[in-house]
Symmetry: D2
Subunit: 238 residues, 4 copies
């Protein structure tokens, strides 16, 4: 072969297989999305269109990769979970992560026009980075998901209160920020309720809890159409 004398460069490709027998979580995050939400005038504190777009892209990823059993999303991030026994791409980290990031990005960018018909994308386009993490036990995985969901709750309570102070209370951003500095959850709930008549508990679950997509991994024998279980199911956990 004409290229045989150069082929030695393949030896520099070091393996990056992930430990077998562990859940592989690939979390992707929007790059520079604070800027992006301003550029495209996202509704604050939550833009339902943006979340639906994220969920739509995640659904496409799950359809593309049947080895995924679960996905959890909130804000501009999404975590995808491969089953412990998954051997897709021999568990090579870069292959697993880039396939998810690329498929997600493609669907996000092309799905954009459906949710934001009046705000066409211009350069620089939205993009996502990602990484893979292994979790050995069911408890570890559950705690990982609890961690992301606790993060969702904390940020959303803060943002809901902040934007109430700004949008309904007429405060400058900096003043609102200062007012919230040092407050705990109970304080923010009280601000929302007393000043703005907002009962945080009545906020939509998708904002408070995030979104879960899962695959019916162990189809029961009574299912008339087991093939249907291949499609991911989307939920906003309560």
């Amino acid at each position: 072969m004409a290229n045989s004398k150069y082929q030695y460069v393949r030896n520099f490709e070091l393996p990056d297989n992930l430990l077998p027998g562990t859940f592989v979580v690939v979390r992707i995050d929007g790059r520079g999305f604070t800027k992006l939400t301003t550029k495209y005038n996202f509704v604050k504190p939550n833009d339902r269109r943006a979340l639906d777009l994220m969920n739509g892209a995640a659904e496409a990823v799950m359809k593309d990769l049947p080895d995924l059993i679960l996905a959890y999303g909130q804000s501009d991030e999404f975590s995808f979970v491969f089953h412990k026994d998954c051997m897709l791409f021999e568990r090579r980290a870069s292959k697993l992560v880039t396939t998810i990031v690329s498929t997600f990005t493609a669907n996000y960018v092309l799905g954009w026009a459906k949710y934001f018909p009046d705000a066409p994308l211009t350069a620089p386009l939205p993009s996502f980075d990602g990484r893979a993490v292994c979790y050995p036990s069911d408890t570890n995985l559950r705690d990982y998901l609890s961690w992301r969901q606790a993060d969702c709750h904390i940020n959303n309570l803060y943002n809901t209160t902040f934007w109430a102070l700004v949008q309904q209370g007429g405060l400058e951003n900096r003043v609102a920020e200062k007012e919230l500095s040092g407050t705990v959850s109970a304080d923010k709930n009280e601000i929302l309720f007393k000043r703005f008549g907002i009962n945080y508990n009545n906020e939509p679950d998708i904002f408070k809890k995030g979104s879960v997509l899962y695959r019916d991994f162990f189809p029961t024998s009574t299912q008339s159409s087991p093939a249907a279980s291949k499609s991911p199911i989307i939920q906003h956990p309560t």
Copy 2:
């Protein structure tokens, strides 16, 4: 913090920093592009629109990441080179690779309509995977690029001859494949020239050699506008 008891899960995120002092090459490849070229009726053996779309996406990547000094593309793959001294993202492999893959995908998918106005994208969308490889010396890097370019040449000579046999020679795919089995470069050149009057040397450089994008990394002092050197330059090496 409400989420502090779950934060231990962060300890499972193992570092993946790449060795300093080496060139980092991120190569991305189209996933399942053989199917895709059929689905969207790419011109065979080379579709100039598809190559221009690849080059456009690569240019966007280089604009987004000023640490990239060089990119080389052919067919459905592109290699991006970070300088030895680059410390972007602390040289974390997953961050470098996913940023490139995501930015490339976004621009490829959104740029599609410009080059294929009559063939709108439908699911599953085009996507790319990628990996990072470190090369310690200038010689290693040059040999890597030579390897990819030799690959381009070998594949293109084969494809050019194969499709001449099929399109102009009227052969079935299988028959053409059989005819080329065991042939060397000289044989293919002769088939092209004797049977179809094609002088392979006159084929466009972008098909034979691929495309190079580079940044004027060491601007000379006589440049009136050194900032201009920040934009990548595209070439089809001869």
Copy 3:
């Protein structure tokens, strides 16, 4: 500091921490021990002195590293198990492995004279290599230990039969080897019993099963001397 301009070389030290929440098994193996058993005239098929020396070195390792919960040895290899929650040396692979290999080697080499008083060590000295492997679940760990023990059994049955043919049967090594080629366990048991009157089941457990050292990890409250549980206990599993 006089050495500050060179300190950048520390950045080339990449982290090698092992995944938390998994059992870490460090297996060490004698280097070139086939040669060594000949050089020092080890008794074949098993030299009890050599096994006792191995067990003594392993006991010293377990005393030195209280994070070890279990060790399993056979022939010229020993596997040491760190508990899932062990955070010794921040779980850095090279630190864990080299500490065990070095401590084991020191005790093996210095303990030699006690077991082989008439065969003093000469260069090249005995040495061991080692590696760390993570096992996520109890089942994985048990299967790992079963694998090593099955290996012990298979090799010992073979060696016992082979050396019976050579030592008692008067066969040349090559002839004995040929005779055993293709035989299964039942065949070897029969050869031993019928030709040499050896009932393999009556062979010493230390030869058939290997040796286990363990630490009483969860001392019960009724123990009069809980500190005593810090010392490893040695057994030849039956």
Copy 4:
């Protein structure tokens, strides 16, 4: 095979090959040697016997591993350098590091009696840990060695002055420590010269500079006995 159902555990052994085309430096360090120097009454600030023992063990390592081109030692540490093109053990980090650590330890422990005939080793025995680091360029390697040698110089100047204050000046350890706090090299040189008549430049090179072992890597054609070049040469650089 009886053990085939357990063999899946081998899949958990992840590769740890080091990047080709780079110098591999394995540095080993004495574990808890501060305690050890007290236990065995090492001469302070430098014990020539201990350094000779270190050098002897390093020489045995270099004889055992012909792929090593250079070793540099000082105090209780030694750095071993494999050539860029070395492919020993397929450049597996754990194999390279443990082989060196084990061979060094064996020779250190067994060589002890020659240098310390009146202080036989008792448990816990001396042991070493180690790690492998890759350096891509000649400059990186030179800077690594300069870093270790600068470390040798700085520590030795401090220790020489500290022990002069204690041994000849009659100061308590703490007082000597306090006196040296905040001093620069020139101050220490002056203390040594003015108070104790010691010209630091006249101290033995092995204390000030450490020891180098190298192999004549490119034997000249005029050598009568090229095989002789296989033996490492030891020097105390000036």
